[in-house]
Amino acid sequence: MTWFTRMSTALLLAVGMMGLSGCETVASTAPLASSADAKGIIIHRPWARATPGSGQNGVVFLTITNRSDLDDRLVAAYGTMAQTIELHTHVLDGPVMKMRAVPYIDIPKGQSVELRPGGLHIMLIQLQSPLKEGSSFPLTLELAHAGRMSIDVIVKGSAITNGQDHTTPSRDAPLPHPHGH
């Protein structure tokens, strides 16, 4: 995973920042998509937790729906807001919470996978600056089949406990779940 992140960071540096503002240029095979993708991958409600104080590490949560007829997987995330970006999960081992990097997150066809507090997340390590509530930042997701997708992540409150806060209205209208998830 870390190898992947390093490689992707290097790649990102190599192509400069055009990967973010002009994602369509980088991913010529995958058209720019802010929340929906022509290949049937839909990203719902991407949000990050505001980092308290001079918070150095952040997390991004979102739900990925795969409406294509191919199993897919999230393999990486790229952005400029942090030095390192990894895919992580949480494992509760007795009373002890362990956060671990994972090489990918499977998104089986016809299913939705939720990245949420206490579970799977996109980990932002060593933020360039603290994430402030109400702001947003771009993030590029890479899926094995669907390719790259550029999304806008909204920063919500630090103290959100389940992602269902009512203090910050969700910017994206909730999308229907056609598979009864």
Binding site: R49, G53, A101, Q126
Partner: protein, 194 residues
């Protein structure tokens, strides 16, 4: 035959219920602190567990580089506090103990906790003091290196429960990670209301 059948049918659930009840009743309070702590608060003052005698405590161990588990549980703690009647919450002090003295300065700790609740107090100390405090509570914490190791990017595995201590310094309950704030408030109320 009929009677035997009746007993077999009705006795089994009864026995089961009794068995479950016994399980609960026979669990003597296994929770106890094996010691206190000697730490420094977010104002730079030295604090001991005994200094809080007379108040109930909610204690969470974590670190400010913890991006999700700590904010979630501190958020729950804050919400639970706000759900309690003021007469109860006034007698309850929320504490956050940072087990990452290498990266968490007093200033950073202060800024971090202020985000969650105005009454939340941050505590930290030397590695030895923190190890001793964690041992008193039966709390586990261990540094985990990233791959490849980066001296600034390590993570810390840590117990994710919230420790509820009474006004005599006795451990009452450990609230599990992500307990709904309503449940936490109820359980606190049960113990604190006369």
């Amino acid at each position: 035959m009929q009677i035997q059948r009746f007993w077999r049918i009705s006795l089994l659930p009864l026995l089961l219920i009794t068995f479950i009840a016994t399980l609960h009743a026979e669990t003597p309070n296994p929770l106890s602190l094996t010691g206190g702590f000697s730490l420094m608060d977010d104002q730079g003052k030295s604090k001991h567990l005994e200094d809080y005698r007379g108040s109930f405590l909610l204690v969470f161990f974590g670190y400010t580089y913890c991006p999700d588990i700590c904010p979630t549980n501190l958020g729950i703690m804050a919400q639970a506090l706000n759900k309690l009647p003021p007469t109860v919450s006034q007698r309850l002090i929320p504490l956050f103990i940072s087990v990452d003295p290498e990266r968490d300065t007093i200033k950073q700790l202060r800024e971090y906790i202020q985000t969650f609740h105005p009454r939340l107090t941050g505590l930290t100390g030397t590695s030895a003091q923190l190890r001793q405090a964690a041992n008193s509570f039966g709390v586990y914490f261990a540094r985990v290196e990233t791959n490849p190791p980066n001296p600034k990017h390590y993570l810390i595995d840590h117990s994710a429960g919230t420790y509820f201590i009474d006004d005599q310094g006795r451990l009452l309950e450990i609230f599990e990670h992500q307990m709904p704030p309503e449940t936490m408030a109820q359980r606190i109320l049960q113990r604190m209301q006369p």
